[in-house]
């Protein structure tokens, strides 16, 4: 039963990773940039959620919505100001800029409100737990899982059934050809950043609900791990990010269940290095031959 219990915990944690990983994978798929600032958008989302719950006295879902919208705006702003001028620059220049933006957000938040952590109120939803085959599933994990599943289905719908989703797929396939076909590439890229950042904002609120403690540097490690999840599933592939996130969450929970909780943070990176060595295209990816 202990094993099953850990599996349930792992899935809750994994769904948060999956939500963040989706943003990474979408942005990478479209502009080939590792958006290091993504983990910090996740952090901002957690804080927006916290303030709308405590100051504006809103419930879980309105806070989630506010956080998602704010993060979407923030994501688009970052893209327009920092990444757009670098679209034709070297990949390394873009990567360094992304690291710079990430640090700017982290220390900007610390500068504005201080580095002290905050605690999410625990009485937001009734704290009951379901007994299922002897496994305790708390209402919070159910809520988080439900929210992420709904958001993922929504994302799949947007990507596959709407016009903007079609444009996104076209741009990620071939940016120049898409432009020739009359697709507004800049707007499509902004939309990608908006959707990815909104998902990160939702993940931030979910993380706050689940772990209660939030602080300005909380985005670094989950952000990196979500990136690992995206690579694990095959970067640029949306279902890959979902599976990768869930898988990583389960792996981490099982490692801490096995008594190596201090090593938990290291496991993700071991997984990363192994996957990069043995299957760099990820679980769902296809190997693409390099052309000169």
């Amino acid at each position: 039963m202990e094993f099953l219990q850990q599996l349930v915990n792992g899935v809750s944690l994994g769904s948060i990773y999956a939500l963040i990983a989706l943003g990474y994978t979408m942005v990478y798929g479209i502009v080939k940039l590792i958006n290091f600032a993504h983990g910090d958008i996740f952090m901002v989302g957690a804080f927006i959620g916290f303030y709308s719950i405590t100051i504006l006295d809103l419930g879980f879902f309105p806070s989630l919505l506010i956080s998602m919208v704010t993060c979407a705006i923030l994501g688009v702003l970052i893209e327009r100001i920092a990444y757009k001028p670098l679209r034709n620059a070297t990949r390394i220049a873009a990567l360094i800029t992304a690291i710079g933006v990430s640090l700017l957000i982290e220390y900007g938040v610390i500068y504005v409100r201080g580095a002290q952590p905050e605690a999410y109120p625990g009485d937001l939803i009734p704290a009951t737990s379901l007994d299922f085959l002897g496994v305790k599933v708390s209402s919070q994990s159910l809520l988080i899982l439900g929210t992420s599943v709904v958001l993922m289905i929504l994302l799949q719908f947007i990507v596959h059934k709407t016009k903007i989703g079609k444009a996104m797929r076209a741009v990620s396939h071939d940016m120049d050809a898409a432009r020739l076909m009359g697709i507004n590439v800049n707007n499509t890229i902004s939309a990608t950043f908006a959707i990815g950042s909104a998902l990160a904002g939702a993940a931030g609120v979910a993380f706050g609900m689940y772990y209660t403690k939030i602080e300005p540097l909380m985005g670094i490690i989950p952000g990196l791990k979500a990136f690992v999840a995206a690579v694990l599933g095959g970067i640029g592939i949306i279902p890959g990010a979902m599976v990768g996130g869930l898988l990583l969450g389960v792996i981490e929970s099982l490692v801490s269940a096995a008594g190596f909780s201090l090593w938990r943070d290291g496991v993700a990176f071991v997984v990363l290095i192994l996957i990069l060595i043995f299957r760099p295209a990820g679980l769902f990816g296809k190997n693409v031959r390099e052309k000169v």
């Binding site: 710079g100 500068y111 990136f227 201090l262 990176f269 071991v270 290095i273 060595i277």
Partner: protein, 324 residues
């Protein structure tokens, strides 16, 4: 004749550097400059070694590594074990720090250097984190609370290490091997086609860079009384990265200058750590937007004085900046 002239410049700069080192030694022992400035000086020295070692990996070979603090940590802990646990002299500690880091560089380099660009960056980042977590979990070196180290770093050791680092990296860059590394940076596929064993040169550059980072780690550990895994996180790697990027990818003197400048700036901003990071990150973003080649580009300081016209960092033309 030309070679002789070139060598003359080289030897005269070494003599000049040694004179500077001896003068500084007298200033320090005579307590003419106070403790605060001496400490800053040590800090600058360690950062110069780190910047030069990362310059070899990123600037010359074009391999984007953002886990350099991992090698620093390996060197720091290895040397601390040698001097504190085994009670051997500091010289062994320095050497052991370098060798341990170089071995770590080989272990991480051989599998990951097959990756390119972003993937390599992430893999090295992951490696840096793994090193930190490993030290966090080893009780022998104190775990999270860290390890106390007596202060053994003195100016002669530090200055000797800086001189050695700069000479080795400079001469490596100007050698056949260095030119092979530059060709890997400029175009890996073309270098491969020219018969250069790209993997070999990438690993060599990585191991040498790691070696000097390890030496810097040994000096670092024996200067700060205590080493903790938290000192070697992602932010430390980033600190080193910004020296190289700001100075100019491919310019050793640029990296050294940036290391000196930024260390002084951060010493003055020590009481406002957030502000320091905000300024750093803004500088980085603005730099990438408006001058992605850094302050010096790929040029060296000497090229301004027309002493050694032998394009050390490769192309001497700013407009042809092609790092990565």
């Amino acid at each position: 004749m030309n070679i002789l002239k070139h060598a003359k410049g080289f030897w005269s700069s070494i003599v000049l550097a040694i004179v500077f080192g001896v003068v500084m030694q007298f200033l320090i022992t005579g307590e003419i400059i106070n403790f605060f400035y001496v400490n800053t000086l040590y800090f600058i020295g360690i950062n110069i070694i780190l910047a030069a070692s990362l310059h070899l990996i990123i600037g010359i070979t074009g391999q984007f590594s953002i886990g350099h603090a991992g090698f620093l940590a390996v060197g720091a802990y290895a040397s601390a074990i040698i001097t504190m646990k085994l009670e051997l002299p500091f010289a062994f500690g320095l050497l052991a720090g370098g060798v341990a880091a170089a071995i770590a560089g080989l272990i991480i380099g051989i599998p990951t250097l097959r990756l390119k660009g972003d993937y390599l960056a992430i893999a090295t980042l992951g490696f840096g984190e793994i090193v930190r977590i490993v030290f966090l979990n080893i009780e022998y070196v104190g775990g999270a609370s860290g390890m106390t180290v007596t202060q053994l770093t003195t100016w002669p050791w530090l200055f000797g290490s800086i001189l050695l680092t700069l000479i080795v990296i400079r001469n490596f860059t100007n050698s056949t091997h260095g030119r092979a590394c530059i060709s890997v940076r400029e175009n890996e596929i073309a270098a491969d086609a020219m018969g250069i064993n790209t993997t070999y040169y990438k690993v060599i550059a990585f191991a040498i860079g790691a070696f000097f980072a390890g030496v810097a780690g040994a000096l670092y550990a024996h200067n700060f009384f205590i080493i903790q895994p938290t000192n070697f996180g992602f932010l430390k790697s980033f600190d080193i990265l910004i020296f190289v990027v700001l100075g100019g990818l491919g310019s050793m003197s640029g990296a050294v200058l940036a290391a000196i400048l930024l260390t002084i700036v951060s010493t003055f901003l020590q009481s406002y750590p957030e502000l320091r990071m905000i300024i750093y990150s803004l500088v980085l973003i603005i730099m990438m937007l408006y001058r992605p080649q850094g302050i010096m580009g790929t040029r060296e300081l000497t090229s301004f004085f027309k002493i050694g016209k032998s394009a050390k960092g490769g192309v001497n033309d700013d407009s042809k900046h092609t790092v990565a």
